[in-house]
């Protein structure tokens, strides 16, 4: 290990995993080189239309991240680059990198697109899955980062037209590839995945134009796709009447060396069907599947809605085949549940193609000296999913195992924690503070407003007459400049806005585009870059609140857009610059919960250099891990438990507080005060961040005679009995029942871990007692990812899987001393009676009983089921809406040990983005009390959801409300409640709002 560690990290791959990793590292004081072989960052997520289970627009939520990466002073983009060699040792590596030339000087190119418009050569558009053409000199998609053109040399005919039109002289055919060497302390691998090529399976007739890969269909759904978001039958261009999805294409297929499940296809197929139905309301959507694997948070409910509300048809069958009629029509031949062969015609067939390792995975493994598993994914341990086996190189995302976006984001953050722990002593050594030019004093100036009206591609411009809005804006009081922008948020446009601000000496800026929720921070920074106080910026939402909701009334929508702009201008005239205030902070962390999630978080936190209080309400550490005695891969969970307990208990930077409960938590990010009780002894501690790792519990079943016979146990109980040698199952019969208390009306979610647990334990039984009979009664076997392998192994060992229906549950009875389990086999449609010697119930994972109390103490939301609700289901899986508080483990949702470890590391990484700062900065948009007017009535005190205002007697002896600037979230509830207008909401002042209302009423 090198003594002088380098505070820089190379992130290989710039999809959502790599981007998240890069942002966390960069926000925690490390220099990041973000490398991708592609001309733009963004990865697969940028290609998706919507995301499950919330149906958020993928581009809308990834675009702010793209911009964050693009504008981050600590991130250096290495796009169109290849990693050639890694030398050195952990903490001090050297990476040799080839920069493939774009034949375009990145410094000079503005991304204006002129070259593209004149290029006469059409090539297939890879971003759109080759469904349409693009030019030989191209920008992959409008929000691409960096927004630079790239020329393909191989297909260029060399006419040079592009060079002629390029006003910045950026294009140079003589540019050549170059090599650089960078010094880094560690490496994060996030090269992602590739989708399966169905050409390999002729039975799917991918040669037919109406047979599409799912990612192709995704592009048809997307407004930026080849049809502008219109769902078509490609062979005719007409709207289809029926679409079928075929699952497991290239997954769960041993014959093709893809004996794993791709984990996401079930839910993405549901999403595609639901969205397609929103596009074409009377469309018939059918999904052919083997097991419906909707195991993620909120997925089962999504599946139920698809069935019940959207009328999506689900047909369970062996993988069917696609046939083509003589007239070219498509039909699917499949074996129905009665065992009969049926045929159905469809206009379009979508193949739900699985994941496979990215191209170049073997080369990458060779360069880095890491191992791949038998399928070519990165080899990792069951309990160490982020570690490659080579110190200093960490891995995340789909290259570890196929996974969905939130898990990928969590692993991106998690790998960032691993990579930075190694070099934490060199934090802040390779980075420079982001510096903004000094703020221009605009006081005393008359408003000079610039209005930028965004087309948002076709999102706005296809409905609203953008040019008419621009012309109208020019007539409004205070407006000195107005223009239209194709994408106001694109990176090049930020520079452009800055130039306009300077050229026209603007002192107020309005962007009429989308939501301030996603884009206000970006434009505020743009104002800062131009020397304007960021609060001199205002947005008019003419997309979400106008073009999207009035798409069939373009004229009225244009009028409304004008109204919105006029109101924004009225407010902008009144905008005032606001200051942010630096506040001292505490750099310690409190972790609530001493299970595997909490212990991992605590231990990783200290590796980052921060002290930890680890609070456990029980007398012992370990939580649920104490009951887990076996693993799928053969690693010993109890060894992990012993190791972790020893680590946290002997770590001088961790204070472990067992048998301790939390009485109260006050304060805010950077300055929490926590009151604790331990055996009646009170204590107060302070911390800057809090990680919630309160775990979950195994449901105590009320069904299947549980508790009435000692031969009926839960999986946890089974593992303990088995491990402690209390079971002799030789020649015995064991029945396991799945979904006990899960996927029911009162608990609609899937508990995720039970299928893997049942498979694991059935293998344990069969390996120890080959003559034992093991039956697993299931609804869907959700052996996602590489767990499919163990499903197969269990079957090979003779474990018998019998499927039952939700409304035809197994019946457990006692006949004298005999246990009887009756089940109707759905394949044979026959009722079986099994007489087990042991009945193991796969009981649901239910939220910890303490969750409501913790949620109350910290003012955190819970899901309808009682798990903690993260800030955003997709992109902020371990954050809370409350700053400075993070989430991991079972408290979030049921998950396996490795997944818990990933999330715990992620929470640490997110917490480090806070603790690595020297101080906390208060917002400008906060409430202020005018104590002269305040009547001290306390309405604000009661109304504030964050309990910020308090009543105090001031120096003049008056009872008045006080609002702590650092705690105030700027929600404005207090200001609305205050009858006296004694509370001023900065940036939403009465006079600003009244000006807006007046402008609304004005003609």
């Amino acid at each position: 290990m090198s003594e002088d560690k380098i505070g820089a990290v190379l992130v290989v791959g710039a999809g959502i995993a790599g981007m998240q990793s890069a942002l966390d590292l960069a926000d925690s004081g490390f220099k990041v080189y973000l490398l991708t072989e592609y001309p733009s960052i963004g990865g697969y997520m940028a290609k998706l239309d919507k995301t499950f289970p919330t149906n958020d627009c993928a581009m809308c939520i990834i675009s702010p991240k793209l911009v964050d990466v693009a504008g981050h002073p600590n991130i250096e983009l290495l796009t169109n680059c290849d990693l050639l060699e890694l030398s050195g040792e952990p903490g001090s590596f050297k990476a040799r990198i080839r920069k493939r030339t774009r034949y375009v000087d990145e410094e000079k190119c503005t991304g204006c697109g002129s070259c593209i418009s004149v290029c006469p050569v059409e090539i297939l558009d890879g971003f759109n899955e080759n469904l349409r053409g693009t030019k030989n000199i191209f920008i992959p998609f409008p929000q691409a980062v960096p927004l630079k053109a790239t020329r393909r040399k191989e297909t260029c005919m060399g006419c040079g037209l592009c060079k002629v039109v390029c006003e910045s002289g950026a294009i140079d055919f003589n540019l050549t590839d170059s090599e650089i060497t960078i010094d880094i302390g560690s490496v994060v691998l996030a090269p992602g995945y590739k989708t399966f090529d169905p050409e390999l399976m002729k039975e799917y007739r991918y040669d037919h134009p109406d047979v599409l890969r799912s990612i192709e269909f995704e592009r048809f759904l997307a407004p930026t796709g080849p049809t502008g978001g219109h769902v078509i039958k490609p062979s005719t261009g007409e709207e289809p009447k029926s679409i079928a999805w075929i699952q497991c294409v290239g997954s769960r297929n041993e014959r093709l060396d893809r004996g794993y499940c791709s984990s996401v296809c079930c839910t993405y197929a549901i999403k595609e069907a639901v969205i397609a139905k929103e596009h074409v309301p009377d469309l018939s959507c059918t999904i052919f599947y083997m097991d419906m694997r909707t195991f993620g948070k909120g997925f089962e409910e999504y599946y139920n809605r698809a069935k019940d509300e959207y009328g999506i048809e689900f047909i369970r069958c062996r993988v069917p085949s696609v046939k083509v009629r003589t007239d070219g029509g498509l039909f699917i031949r499949y074996e129905n549940e009665e065992g009969e062969i049926e045929e159905r015609e469809f206009d379009v067939v979508v193949l739900s193609v699985g994941f496979q390792p990215p191209d170049g995975n073997r080369e990458l493994a060779r360069i880095l000296g890491i191992d791949l598993n038998k399928f070519g994914f990165c080899e990792t341990g069951e309990f160490t999913p982020l570690e490659t086996g080579r110190e200093g190189i960490y891995v995340c995302g789909a290259f570890v195992e196929p996974k969905d976006i939130p898990e990928t984001v969590a692993q991106g953050s998690g790998a960032s924690a691993k990579a930075s722990a190694l070099i934490s002593t060199s934090r802040h050594t390779q980075v420079t503070e982001r510096e903004f030019p000094p703020e221009r004093d605009v006081s005393g100036e008359l408003p000079r407003i610039g209005v930028f009206v965004c087309h948002c591609g076709i999102n706005i411009a296809s409905v609203v007459d953008v040019l008419a809005v621009v012309e109208y804006a020019k007539t409004l009081p205070g407006v000195v400049y107005a223009e239209n922008d194709l994408y106001a948020c694109s990176q090049d446009n930020q520079k452009h806005i800055q130039e306009v601000i300077k050229e026209y000496n603007l002192n107020r800026v309005i962007v009429a585009s989308c939501s301030p929720r996603t884009h206000e921070p970006l434009f505020r920074n743009t104002c800062r870059e131009a020397g304007l106080n960021p609060y001199l910026f205002e947005m008019a939402n003419i997309r979400d609140q106008c073009s999207w909701v009035h798409m069939h009334e373009p004229e009225k929508a244009t009028e409304k857009a004008k109204d919105l702009v006029r109101m924004a201008v009225a407010k902008a005239n009144m905008l005032q610059p606001l200051k942010t205030i630096p506040i001292e902070m505490n750099h310690e962390c409190m972790v609530i919960g001493g299970g595997i999630a909490g212990m991992t978080a605590a231990s990783e936190m200290t590796r980052q250099g921060y002290r930890v209080y680890l609070i456990e309400k029980e007398a012992e550490l370990g939580g649920n891990l104490r009951s887990i005695r076996y693993s799928l891969s053969g690693e010993d969970p109890q060894e992990l438990l012993r190791r972790m307990i020893e680590e946290v208990e002997t770590n001088p930077m961790i204070e472990v507080m067992k048998s301790t409960t939390i009485d109260s938590i006050e304060g805010y990010i950077g300055n929490f005060k926590v009151n604790l009780s331990r055996n009646g002894e009170k204590r107060e501690i302070g911390c800057g961040v809090i990680i919630v790792a309160t775990g979950a519990e195994e449901y105590k079943p009320k069904e299947y005679l549980y508790g009435e016979d000692e031969r009926i146990v839960t999986q946890h109980e089974f593992e303990e009995l088995m491990d402690e040698g209390k079971l002799d199952l030789s020649g015995k019969t064991v029945v396991m029942i799945q979904c006990v208390g899960s996927r029911e009306e009162e608990r609609t979610y899937c508990s995720r871990v039970c299928c893997a647990t049942a498979i694991k334990n059935s293998i344990v039984i069969k390996e120890n007692y080959p003559d034992a009979d093991v039956y697993i009664l299931y609804r869907d076997i959700r052996a996602y990812g590489f767990k499919e392998e163990y499903y197969r192994r269990a079957r090979d060992l003779g474990v018998i899987f019998i499927r039952y229906e939700k409304d035809e549950k197994p019946e457990v009875t006692k006949d004298g001393d005999l246990l009887k389990v009756g089940v109707v086999d759905q394949l044979l449609k026959e009722k079986f009676i099994i007489e087990p010697d042991l009945l193991v119930l796969s009981a649901a994972t239910i939220p910890a009983a303490d969750n409501p109390r913790i949620s109350e103490l910290l003012k955190l939301p819970l899901t309808e089921h009682g798990f903690f609700l993260e800030a955003h289901a997709k992109l902020r899986p371990v954050d809370f809406a409350t700053d400075g508080v993070f989430l991991c483990g079972l408290a979030h949702s049921p998950k396996l040990i490795g997944e818990t470890v990933s999330q715990a590391c992620a929470a640490v990484s997110r917490a480090c983005t806070v603790l690595s700062r020297p101080f906390i900065e208060s917002e400008g948009t906060i409430a202020k009390v005018n104590e002269l007017i305040c009547s001290g009535c306390g309405v604000c005190v009661a109304a504030c959801p964050y309990e910020v205002p308090e009543l105090v007697v001031n120096e003049r002896g008056a009872l008045v409300a006080r609002i702590n600037e650092a705690k105030c979230k700027g929600c404005g509830v207090c200001g609305c409640g205050c009858p006296s207008s004694a509370i001023t909401m900065n940036h939403f002042m009465d006079m600003q709002i009244m000006a807006q209302i007046d402008a609304f009423g004005a003609t």
Binding site: C937, G938, V939, A943, P979, D990, G1001
Partner: protein, 357 residues
């Protein structure tokens, strides 16, 4: 079962004197007779308790109005209040405007009131206690009980620490309603409380049904204002004198928004507003003023109707404030001024509070 003492009307004077002289209270807000009128006095000298007129059906203003900012800590003020005044007091306690430890709240039965000028003009005919007989006699003369009283459901003095009851009873009875009230009464010489069964539930249901029909009638009248233009028609006569605000017991702001520059534009500000709209009414913000006030008081309005009495232009403010407020309060199932522990709806949030819509 209540702890009480039958005093009759005469002995009440001694009770008030006794409260002062025993030190149970440091001062007493007490309606007294002054000529043909009833006035409020804040009495500290027992000798100044001359002619209490606590049941006289005369309403000039809601006396809780003067209690705003009664935050003194070491004195106790006895309040001899009509139920609507007592209720306003309780709302003001909830709003931190009155220190609950600094008051002894005494509520009296009130079958309804006349405007104080109507009462003064007809003192001899009306007398000390209002009866249905007197009501109809006066009605023939064209003198009506105040509109707000016709929808009042809380006519019984059962609010606060002590009640002084006469309705439905043979003799005036003083009742301890709280431990604090009991302690205060026990300090007064000559007062010995006894347990007694008094059941006025049938009286209360009569009051309630009369109030309901009164309210229905007012709601019908309100329908005629159920349109912005019709409302504006009525408010066109408003001169924005803000008397209704100043007299309102639950309008407690130290400085009203409509006294601040934004709510009370003058000079150039007024011209700016005219410029955006083409014209502006003067004085400005009549409708805005009333809508804002209606919104501010709609949950705490105890329906006393003082606003209408205070209006120099005869605008039917009982419709705009108490009747509207009552409709809003029904939405939140909130009865202002009855229970100190019941939070004001503005300060609470329940996901289903407005369901079904």
């Amino acid at each position: 079962m209540v702890k009480c003492i039958e005093t009759g009307d005469e002995a009440l004077k001694d009770l008030f004197k006794g409260l002062l002289s025993s030190g149970a209270v440091d001062g007493l807000i007490l309606p007294q007779r002054a000529g043909k009128s009833v006035i409020y006095t804040l009495v500290t000298d027992p000798g100044k308790v001359k002619d209490p007129a606590i049941f006289a059906p005369s309403f000039g203003f809601n006396a809780a109005n003067i209690l705003r900012k009664w935050l003194i800590e070491d004195k106790v003020l006895g309040l001899v209040f009509k139920p609507c005044e007592a209720r306003a007091t309780i709302e003001l306690i909830k709003l931190e405007q009155i220190n609950p430890d600094a008051i002894l709240l005494i509520s009296v039965d009130c079958p309804g009131t006349f405007k104080n000028e109507d009462y003064t003009a007809n003192t001899d005919e009306i007398g000390d206690k209002l009866t249905d007989e007197i009501k109809s006699k006066l009605s023939e003369k064209g003198v009506e009980v105040r509109a707000a009283c016709t929808m009042c459901e809380t006519k019984l003095g059962e609010i606060g620490d002590i009640g002084i009851w006469h309705m439905g009873l043979g003799s005036t009875t003083v009742v301890a309603l709280s431990e604090k009230g009991e302690a205060a009464l026990s300090k007064v010489e000559g007062i010995t409380l006894g347990d007694k069964d008094i059941d006025r539930s049938s009286l209360q249901s009569e009051i309630k049904s009369a109030a309901e029909s009164g309210r229905e009638a007012l709601k019908k009248e309100l329908e005629s204002l159920n349109d912005p233009l019709k409302l504006l028609d009525v408010l066109n006569d408003c001169i924005v004198c803000k008397n209704c605000r100043d007299i309102c017991p639950v309008c407690y702001c130290k400085e009203c928004f409509f006294e601040q520059s934004l709510g009370n534009p003058r000079g150039g500000d007024l011209l700016n507003i005219a410029n955006t709209r083409g014209d502006v009414r003067i004085p400005p913000y009549g409708l805005f003023y009333h809508l804002t006030r209606a919104y501010h008081v709609c949950v705490t309005c105890i329906g006393c109707g003082a606003c209408e009495d205070a209006c120099p232009k005869g605008i039917p403010l009982t419709l705009i404030y108490p009747v509207v407020a009552r409709n809003v309060q029904d939405l939140f199932e909130y009865v202002p001024g009855m229970d100190l522990e019941e939070p004001i709806p503005l300060t609470t949030y329940q996901e289903d509070e407005l369901e079904p819509r």
